[in-house]
Amino acid sequence: MGSSAPQDLAEVYRTTYRALVRFLYRKVWDAERAEDLAQEAFARALIHKPESARGWLFIVAANMARDDARRAARERRHLTLLTAEPQESTLASDEAVEVESDRARVRVALDELSPRDREVLLLWDSGLSYDEIAAQTGLARGAIGTTLSRARRRLVQAYEAGKAGEHVARG
């Protein structure tokens, strides 16, 4: 990953921005918000010029998403919520509804993973290598495969269980 002179960071941006948005999206579940946070992370990287920009970005992004979630939770307690998510309300077709409920099922399934398993899975899915995941999570490199195998299994099981549960509930 090397140093991060601006031109290097531009390259990291090109290769990593979407992955970072993807990673953040699974934490904040709002595409616009995820993009804003990703932009913010890159803006901070320009100031801090971290040694290993990619890993640094994901760490900063994870922290920002956590702060964001806390703030959101705090605000929900005593703030006026505008409305349902616009995304949700604008969808009309059966297909769109199906896409939305699939997304919701995956979200619920992800919530059932332990925080560490979920983090490793999301980092892998965002394109980080085992080395990078190990550096970011503090896990031994040798433990990443095991963690991923468990996370993937639980995700699939939780998703299928959720789907089966819906069918039972509907009769």
């Binding site: 993009e35 505008l82 892998w124």
Partner: protein
């Protein structure tokens, strides 16, 4: 040799084993049908998990341009410049530009701006607009203006900017900052729109605007679109502000609001409700949710919000309903000019 454990199989399939480790695994697989079977299962599992995660991916959007040198400084500039600019624009407009709509009455001699730089599209404002014109022109702005506002193609000839340049140039800079660097959102701008406080968030693309509103955003035909913003406003589930340049120094904002589908202007939720119903189909959930929310609503805030909205509508005659959208136009122009503009707004087509 002992069997290969799950973790090693996953690392092997992920391509994350060292060459020596790969050799070891393959040697074992060659002589162990059980592990070969497990290898297939784990491969299927990895594929399935990947598919599920792909279901929960954000919409794939165009990569916003990255200009390392610009990112931070321009972001600051944007916030610094914007507020004084609003005043500068107001003054400039009060002095001269406001005359352009009412210029049939009186030709202002020191304002070559009005006649020389009057972009052809503006005539569309005065002349009745044929649907065809609108379509074609909308496409024209979108191709250039919406994506790269600073290079607004239909922008009036820069020659006659004259005295108004002072107000124009910083504004351009600010816009390019916002669009190119997509100002990190946490500091939101507050724009005064007809006396109501609207929180402006980050600039968005036309596609996002359309997705947010569930319809084509409305804009004044013939005037280049500088930027679109997402905004938040009570009573609306989505608000998109379309910033358009009428001429080199007059920028108006067309505020598109999508009424909250619940038709309740404010929903007060006591306690942090988890999104329990997520798993249900959205359609099944909707009516149920509505009833529940209605039950749990404190009457006062809802009434207050409704009153607020009503006041809003009466205060601002400049509110027009078109389909699901409510639109108003604001800008440094006399209110009757704004009214005229409001009457001609048209959907921005792709």
């Amino acid at each position: 040799m002992s069997h290969v454990d799950d973790g090693t199989l996953h690392a092997y399939l992920d391509g994350e084993l060292s060459p020596a480790e790969v050799q070891g695994v393959e040697a074992h697989l060659a002589q162990c049908p059980a592990c070969r079977g497990r290898l297939d299962e784990e491969r299927a599992l990895i594929t399935r998990a990947g598919e599920l995660l792909a279901l929960a991916a954000p919409p794939d959007r165009e990569l916003p341009p990255f200009r390392a040198g610009d990112m931070k400084p321009l972001t600051r500039l944007w916030w610094k410049v914007r507020l004084p600019l609003a005043w500068a624009a107001t003054v400039a407009i009060a002095l001269g530009i406001g005359t352009y709509l009412g210029r049939g009455v009186e030709q202002v001699p020191q304002a070559p701006t009005a006649s020389d730089t009057q972009p052809a599209e503006l005539q569309a404002l005065q002349a009745p607009i044929s649907a065809d014109t609108v379509q074609r022109e909308s496409r024209a702005w979108l191709r250039g203006a919406a994506r790269t506002p600073p290079a607004a193609p239909a922008a009036p000839a820069p020659a006659a900017r004259g005295e108004t340049q002072m107000a124009v140039i910083p504004r351009d800079t600010a816009l390019s900052a916002a669009t190119l660097a997509r100002a990190p959102a946490p500091q939101a701008a507050f724009g005064m729109v007809d006396g109501a406080l609207v929180e402006k968030a980050s600039p968005i693309s036309l596609d996002s605007a359309r997705a947010l509103l569930g319809a084509d955003p409305l804009a004044v035909p013939g005037a280049p679109i500088r930027t679109m913003y997402r905004a938040r406003e009570i009573g609306y589930s989505a608000v998109v502000i379309v910033e358009q340049a009428l001429d080199s120094s007059t920028v108006i904002e067309v505020v598109n609001g999508r009424r909250s589908p619940l038709a309740l202007d404010a929903v007060v939720v006591a306690g942090a409700a988890a999104p329990v119903a997520q798993a249900d189909s959205v359609r099944e959930r909707a009516p149920l949710g509505r009833a529940r929310i209605a039950d749990s609503l404190a009457a006062a805030p809802a009434a207050k919000a409704a009153a607020r909205l009503e006041r809003y509508e009466t205060q601002n005659r400049g509110l027009r309903r078109l389909g699901d959208l409510e639109v108003r136009v604001s800008g440094p122009l006399p209110s009757d000019s704004l009214q005229k503009l409001l009457r001609v707004v048209q959907p921005v087509k792709p």
